[in-house]
Amino acid sequence: MVNRILTGAHYGLRDWLVQRITAVVMAIYAVIVVVYLLMQPSFGYDTWAELFSGNVMRTFSMLFLLSLFYHAWIGVRDIVMDYVKPASIRLLIHVLVILALVVYTIWSVQILWGL
């Protein structure tokens, strides 16, 4: 294979935009949770368990975690693109990161729904 500088993958915008949108989702969720917890007269296991007992909170928490994972994927991939030069090692790291994030997603569902 000839050794050329290869660019023009024609993606980039979507990931960049998704990273911004997921950041907004995470910010909104974080503010709501912090404000809710600060408004509680006492804070202990009961408050925490009650907060996560409803399906609405579980669903939004899942949305938050999915946003976090997608956001992290783009961020980590960007770091790898900057610092890891051999394409084969880059691909390997990408695969490992994706696998880890898929495992985290399954794990999150288990935790949130107590499976």
Binding site: H10, Y11, L13, M81
Partner: protein
Amino acid sequence: MKFRIYRYNPDTDTAPYMQDFELSLEAGDAMLLDALMLLRQQDDSIGFRKSCREGVCGSDAMNINGRNGLACITALSSLKQPIEIRPLPGLPVIRDLIVDMTQFFKQYHSIKPYLVNNDPPPETERLQSPKDRLELDGLYECILCGCCSTSCPSFWWNPDKFVGPAGLLQAYRFIADTRDQDTAARLDNLEDPYRLFRCHTIMNCVDVCPKELNPTEAIGKIKDMMVKRAV
């Protein structure tokens, strides 16, 4: 005045080193380039580029006390001594303060830095309204000195793939020009994880630009146009 200057002559030196110089000179209104010219009378082997000596040609860009700038418009009185002068970071050194800017200009050429207009040329020039012309302010003034791109970490890591702030500012200069008809192709050319999206809004480019231009803002506008096109 005390100076520490980066010296490297690949023909005779095995490694670069810093050389101390001293100059009896009152800072006054003098610029760093004036001092370099006097130092070259002491030691005529100091290599640096210069031409217009008034911040128009962009030849004497160098790293001054850790910050990229043009020697000809950097006042000596504004600099802490010893004044440490190094070549622009991230580019191959040819000799002393002279760097090989091939990679920089390759990226500049990759964005087609010229008007593309397929209409037959009119009798006189292609006119713009004053409002349309205003869009080019803050873009056309770039002198391609390379201060911004060589202060950009993304350009350090991927100079072969990331266009860099100077090239992207010029890319937007032609996207913003109402006389240009190649907008779609220009955006296609930059829709790439490396060419445009290596910019992580570090903003070193804005910090160092000797012409006080804002490549980060131009890059943001290119991204905005891509979003508008895609949604």
